[in-house]
């Protein structure tokens, strides 16, 4: 594993690049969608906290519907064609004790990622989602390898 420049993807941030970088982040109930152009070999990542923008505040990529659209747009801007895109998704753990019942934020975040990617005909080739632990991930933008590790409760986002 080579030591590459590392960019930390804060919640609400997204990044796609043709340069070989490591993009890393920490996920609790948040979800990160990684996209990769399998023909040209480059990719990007987002990190969203909530499924839908509810019309309050700024329409930022803190929300799944915006974050995924924007990441696809960014990939296309860099020259990708929709049919060359593949995805990996991570996160969406059931973290916060307060969210009881069948519709936890994590699950809704996963669902929006799956739904939008299906609508756009982008195949999810791998994922590590749900569960009760947080995750630390690091994406190699050229190879699309994702290093993945479960983490302790206190460190989650």
């Amino acid at each position: 594993m080579n030591k590459l420049p590392n960019i930390f993807i804060y919640p609400g941030k997204l990044y796609a690049t043709k340069i070989n970088y490591h993009l890393s982040t920490i996920l609790g109930s948040c979800v990160a969608v990684c996209l990769w152009d399998k023909k040209q070999g480059f990719g990007g990542m987002n990190h969203f906290m909530l499924p839908y923008w509810n019309g309050q505040g700024l329409a930022s990529p803190k929300y799944g519907n915006i974050a995924i659209d924007k990441l696809i747009q960014r990939m296309k801007y860099l020259g990708s064609k929709n049919e060359d895109l593949v995805a990996k998704i991570f996160g969406g753990g059931k973290i916060m004790e307060s969210t009881s019942g069948s519709f936890s934020i994590g699950e809704r975040n996963i669902e929006i990622a799956q739904t939008i990617l299906r609508e756009k005909n982008i195949k999810i080739i791998k994922s590590s989602i749900g569960g009760e632990r947080g995750r630390k991930i690091m994406l190699n933008t050229t190879t699309f390898e994702v290093y993945h590790k479960f983490i302790e409760k206190s460190k989650q986002a």
């Binding site: 930390f8 309050q56 974050a67 019942g101």
Partner: protein, 288 residues
């Protein structure tokens, strides 16, 4: 069956109902938001074009001054400064919002002398306050030289917007009080002004991008509600909280901000040991 019984048997019912209500509220919001977007563009046009027109006009007048009118330059420069200040402030907010919406925000940690930073911002806005005969009363309960780790640029934008708002919504000839204190590595800042009292409903929608509180305020003040939505986004990002209270026409904004290195979300250290973390590649690690 009664509603309670149904909810007992199917616990999801309650949540589905709740989600439906949320969806309905969101739909209504989107309609309003769409309408405001139109307003927003015309507002922005006003706020950029008007100051520019003034600046151009006044500079032209200065150029045309006769020798014996040179004495007027001072007051004209003052007008140019006013307009440019406003323009600079609005443009910064617009670009800041654009950066947020594009997903390009990072957190940078800097050690900041809080009292100095706030006082510098107050100083910048003093001429605006003086136009309304407002005065600042800054009380600090923390050591002046103690450094506090936060994102300096974002902190300044937060403070500038809160001060600007306090001025905007103050009644003339009153005081704006700023109290700075520290509680368990959490910085607490309260900014109060005396103005039009706010209802609970006003407070709830205050941070919405396209809103400005009611026509009454709208008609006498400029600004387009963009500032507060940036403030609330950044405070969220830095792990802080903001609360607005209004009591007998005293409006108070309470801001609490944890120090960044003590913020257990993502500090800088996380970024640097990230690689080493995976280098160890133990049983917990996996390659996807």
């Amino acid at each position: 069956m009664s509603k309670e019984v149904i909810e007992k048997i199917y616990p999801e019912t309650k949540e589905v109902t709740k989600l439906k209500e949320e969806l309905k509220a969101t739909n209504e919001k989107l309609v309003i938001s769409e309408a405001f977007k139109g307003h927003f563009i015309s507002n922005i046009t006003n706020e950029i074009i008007n100051p520019f027109t003034s600046i151009l006009g006044i500079s032209k007048s200065i150029m045309d001054l006769k020798e014996k009118q040179i004495g007027q330059i001072h007051s004209m420069a003052n007008l140019i400064y006013n307009e440019s200040f406003e323009l600079d402030f609005q443009l910064r907010n617009i670009f800041e919002a654009a950066k947020i919406e594009a997903g390009e925000t990072n957190i940078e940690s800097n050690k900041l002398r809080i009292v100095n930073t706030i006082e510098a911002e107050v100083e910048r806005f003093r001429f605006k306050a003086e136009k309304k005969s407002l005065y600042f009363d800054t009380k600090s309960q923390i050591e002046e030289n103690i450094g506090f780790i936060t994102d300096a640029a974002k902190f300044k934008i937060i403070i500038a917007n809160l001060i600007s708002n306090a001025i905007k919504f103050s009644r003339d000839k009153n005081k704006i009080e700023i109290v700075i204190s520290m509680n368990n590595n959490t910085l607490e800042i309260s900014i109060s002004n005396i103005g039009v009292g706010l209802s609970q409903k006003d407070i709830k929608v205050m941070f919405d991008r396209f809103l400005r509180l009611d026509e009454r305020i709208n008609s006498i003040n400029n600004g387009h509600g963009l500032g507060l939505s940036i403030v609330s986004y950044y405070i969220d990002l830095l792990g802080g909280k903001i609360e607005v209270t209004s009591k007998e026409s005293i409006n108070t904004v309470m801001l609490s901000l944890p120090e960044l290195s003590h913020n257990n979300m993502e500090g800088n250290s996380e970024e640097t040991d990230f690689f080493d973390d995976f280098e160890l590649f133990d049983n917990d690690s996996e390659l996807f």
